[in-house]
Symmetry: C2
Subunit: 216 residues, 2 copies
């Protein structure tokens, strides 16, 4: 990786397999934003404290350093910052609040279940039967809520692709391989296909490495 | 309760003991906004489906119906909607994103632990020892993250009271009675006192009933 040119290029502390990091990189690809990446092991507490300690009180990924050196954390907050004033965040106040509504839904009612189930599917420490059942139940409820909403809609807010869709796509795209049955949620499945068909969409694998950090 | 005058007054589906509902009512009190309340039992799935089904895909409280009949859900999204353009949400783009950062932190890294521990303390179904340990550990980490940030700051963002403080105050105010030891987090404790000392602050008990729904 190139040395960071302080004050000129953003630096993203990244874990290439992370859905939360994917959100940010997908929006950056849509917006054609240039940035540098630094891989961080999300399970290495010492490395996280050293690298992220002064930037993010929670020391989670992604953590971003803006080109002026100021830090910003929480994937959905980074989405919000860069989407303001672009087509990816509605200019209408009510629709903007609806986007925030879905970002909050993603944080509280979706990610704790679908991201955790994905971690287990990827070989993370297996949970107790009780915890697995709780997480799978929560994930099913989240997919049902999305399905109810998407039954008569093309996108989550205002019938246009926005950061609400990017945020929810991040872990919903892996629902099947995380142990959920998307066939039972046809409206969600159709929405996933609409998101993946957006101009400029890049799959997670395409956003993994340095060579792809700047997507043309 | 007065009958709802459709198209004139907002309607808040409320659970008076809820920290999430408290957030909204506290901001409404600060802003001097008029609204009607309707109590909903958060544990009554049938009632929630009937009352909230067409308004909020997740059927959680609070759910708000705006004065023009449009619904808005997720406490932090409701805060965001009403704070825009007021002193409770910074006009600066970076600070606004920092507020969203703390709203996301509250949803993912704070509320699942502190709100759940409070529910148990209030007599909710007791969890397994494993789950209780997991939730208490997560709550401690959230309080530590807040403490690190607040050590050299008066408020969470921009040294001014904002909806980030309202959102985090909601469940942090009950940390002690939920089994956490705030004495171990002196910066958080001092911040709680600063929030409670804000002009126009109303404690949860003061926002409970119809008589207090409109706070002068």
């Amino acid at each position: 990786m190139l040395a960071r040119r302080r004050g000129t290029t953003m630096l993203l502390y990244d874990f290439p397999e992370s859905g939360n990091c994917f959100k940010v990189k997908l929006l950056f690809a849509h917006l054609g934003l240039d940035y540098e990446r630094r891989d961080v092991d999300p399970f290495d507490v010492v490395q996280k404290r050293e690298l992220l300690g002064g930037l993010n009180p929670v020391r989670r990924l992604p953590t971003l350093v803006l080109d002026d050196g100021r830090p910003l954390a929480e994937s959905n907050a980074i989405l919000f910052y860069f989407a303001e004033g672009t087509e990816y965040l509605p200019a209408d106040r009510y629709e903007r609040a609806q986007v925030v509504q879905w970002l909050c839904f993603e944080e509280f009612s979706h990610q704790p279940y679908l991201a955790t189930a994905r971690l287990w599917a990827m070989g993370g420490d297996p949970p107790s039967a009780e915890e697995r059942a709780m997480r799978m139940r929560g994930g099913e409820m989240a997919l049902k809520a999305m399905g109810r909403h998407l039954e008569r809609r093309r996108f989550l807010v205002g019938e246009r692709y926005s950061i609400a869709d990017i945020a929810l796509y991040a872990y919903t795209q892996f629902a099947d391989e995380s142990g959920f049955e998307l066939d039972g949620h046809p409206a969600v499945k159709a929405w996933l296909e609409r998101v993946a068909a957006q101009p400029g969409h890049v799959p997670l694998a395409g956003l993994r490495g340095d060579a792809d950090a700047r997507v043309p």
